[in-house]
Amino acid sequence: MWCLILSSALALTVSPVPQHWKNWANKGLWTLLVISLALSAVNLVGKLVSLYGERLKASQRSIDISKNIANAAIYIVAILILLDIWGAPTTAIIFFIVLAAVVVLVAFRETLPNFLAGVQLNTRGQFKVGDYIKLGTGEEGYIKEMNLTDILIESPNESTILLPNRKLMQTTVTNYGHLMKKAKEPFRFFNRVHLTELTGLKAKNLKELADVLKTAPDSIMYYHTHHFLAEHHYLTPEPANDFAVWVSDVLGDETLGEKLANIDAFEFSTLSALRERIVNVIGEHISSGQELRKAPEGREFYFMKSASVVMSTPYAARDLREFVEALRRLSLGSLYFHIFESRLRLGKVTNDFSVWMKDSLEEQELAEAIEKVNPYTYTLEGVRSQLIKLIEKRIK
């Protein structure tokens, strides 16, 4: 068509028709040229936008909006050129367009920076749909959609968050990359708060201590071999179990205190086995004929137990990435519940995390590695770091 227009223009130049006819014909040819160029430009830009959009995995809605904006701009420019060719006054129209542009800019003053940020983000290609991102402002999750003005992410508590693109440009964003293997069932984190229950029972010497322990409920045994882990979780090293501390500090029997401190609760899969061992160690010491020391008044061993209230938290994890990110900000009460309480007090033999990884995520090796971490030799923060290290290693 463009060849036809060119040859018509040449023919018109050499033809003997009157000048004013030539002028009209020239204007007609220019009109055809501008219209055809505009249509071609619309076609070309449409294809480029589609191609670019697909490469960025942008949503169809974003692609369509971009195409419409580009088409409108091309058509406006083409109309202005045509008006100029036909000698129509364009100043008023240009004024009108500028005014309209200003109105649009004011109306979309919030959207525009997000749009520009979106273009910048798309150009850099730092994120794509399916990446797990974490913002310096706290939001995190998998990218579900990337639009021109915003990004939709699905957070570990299963809510969706619409983040304006501008926010992503203004804060630190960590991209953890690809989608992970999804669990059959999400891991739901619980929190545990507790209250110490008094029993009114006390012992003033080793014999009385052993006598009560033989018949005491598991909850007493659990409390005295575990409460210090939560109460003194900030200390490195942590104090030993209550029996060892009382025997050493109050009865002044360092030898037995050491023996009791060395009983590692991690080696026992049930509280009754742990109880048996402690009672045996005390029994052997008594039968060795050593003098039974008596605790001063007010420093007797007071038997206590723990009353726990377990509540659900908003956190859930469907894969290892979500799990490790939740683990980072989990309260210590929650960590304590899943690591210690579930293993011995609830009789699950192992910690909750390993159970989920085996049963729901088929991560046998990782589950076993976590099982092997002896939580009694770390502070709670130390346990957290160890687990994060193991999971991050697996993710990589």
Binding site: L195, D249, V310
Partner: protein, 405 residues
């Protein structure tokens, strides 16, 4: 104070935990009942805690019983006797207590879903349990580890009717038929006694009392009472000074209702006379900032009590990250884990030895002090106290040890 004021201290997670617990108590009315709105430890803790509970959305209210002077004289006697003091409770006293209790049982409006009764004065209100039902808690704030038998036997028939009892230290519990819980008292990190102070304020307080900052300062803050053993502290100090030059500050008030208090002060002043390194300061009531400044100026804080209720002055010192030497009595071993958050002692020599250890090893002293502050942060601040009360309310009506909500 607002909850958000505590967030920089205890962290966002702790405040969120409180909100979560509070949401589970929605719709419940907790009626606190004690004997006075002002004066005394119970009124002080309730006036600090109730606004926090209310901010969390927990409907906790506060009523007081009525009584005349004769009644409160009897309850004072009863209080002392439950503490173990040798008091004679006469038939007349019993009659006054029963008569006033009867009036309160009849006249006091009881509307709570949870009746939270504090201390022995209103203990008899439990007689309305049969009629009203509801959950009844007896919160014993006093040390009943070795009570006067007559006094304990007098209140016990009421105590055992409660659904739950709460004590401040393990030693205070007795074999009782109901569930008993341990809820330790707490300090408020934002109160005048514990808030951060500038060095200028600390210096001005030292200057006001004429205490030079030229030597390590050993401080004991306690009212002048034989049970706080201020004379023992002076003896321990003199043993320390044989090898390390230092000063001693004994600061406290005298109890107006204890005639022995003046005698103890006089004895302490006599022992300290002529020794320019010993400063005996009689601090008027309400001088919380001055007490705070003296604790903050200390190199080592001592609490050499012979008998102690809970001994919150220890938590106050630990909160200021001070290395503490304290006797292993009452609630002190809960606050001082020996060699982890401070040093426990059992006599004058042990106290002197521990002070010397700390003065001679400033790095170790600093480590203990920092551990002590962490220990108090996690276990003895008012936010933990609020949490414990909410957990207590949530466990009511559940006989199981693990309650899922």
């Amino acid at each position: 104070m607002k909850l958000s004021d505590y967030e920089p201290i205890v962290g966002k997670g702790s405040i969120e935990e409180l909100s979560l617990l509070a949401s589970k108590l929605s719709g419940k009315v907790i009626q606190n009942i004690n004997s006075t709105f002002t004066g005394g430890g119970v009124a002080e803790i309730l006036s600090r805690m109730l606004p926090l509970l209310s901010e969390l959305g927990v409907d906790a209210r506060w009523s007081v019983i009525k009584g005349d002077l004769a009644f409160f004289e009897v309850t004072k006697k009863l209080h002392n006797a439950l503490h173990g003091k040798d008091e004679k409770i006469s038939a007349q006293d019993i009659s006054v207590f029963q008569e006033t209790s009867r009036k309160n049982i009849k006249e006091l409006e009881l509307y709570g879903d949870i009746m939270f009764i504090h201390d022995p004065q209103p203990v008899a209100l439990i007689e309305r349990k049969k009629e009203l039902g509801k959950e009844w808690i007896w919160r014993c704030h006093i040390d009943v580890s070795s009570p006067n038998e007559t006094a304990w036997d007098f209140i016990k028939p009421w105590v055992i009717q409660y659904d739950t009892a709460v004590f401040s230290a393990p030693a205070f519990s007795n074999p009782l038929p109901m569930r008993q819980f341990l809820i330790s008292p707490s300090i408020d990190p934002l109160s005048d006694k514990n808030k951060e102070l500038s060095q200028d304020i600390i210096d001005s307080v030292l200057s006001k009392y004429g205490i030079p900052s030229d030597k390590p300062l050993i401080v004991q803050v306690s009212r002048f009472d034989y049970l706080k053993d201020p004379v023992g502290v002076i003896q321990a100090f003199k043993q320390v000074r044989r090898s390390i030059d230092c000063r001693l500050v004994l600061a406290g008030g005298i109890a107006t209702d204890d005639p022995e208090s003046g005698k103890v002060l006089a004895e302490v002043q006599d022992k300290a006379e002529g020794d320019r390194d010993i400063h005996v300061l009689l601090i008027p009531p309400g001088s919380d900032i001055e007490i705070n400044a003296l604790q903050r100026a200390a190199t080592v804080v001592v609490q050499k009590s012979l008998k102690e209720g809970f001994g919150l002055t220890v938590s106050e010192a630990l909160w200021k990250a001070k290395p503490v030497v304290a006797s292993a009595v009452g609630g002190i071993p809960l606050q001082v884990k020996n060699k982890f958050t401070g040093l426990l002692s059992h006599g004058i020599e042990g106290t002197a030895y521990a002070i010397k250890q700390l003065l001679g090893n400033p790095e170790y002293a600093k480590w203990l002090g920092q551990n002590g502050r962490e220990h108090v942060k996690h276990n003895f601040l008012i936010t933990r106290h609020v949490k414990d009360y909410m957990v207590l309310f949530l466990t009511l009506g559940h006989s199981e040890e693990i309650v899922y909500l």
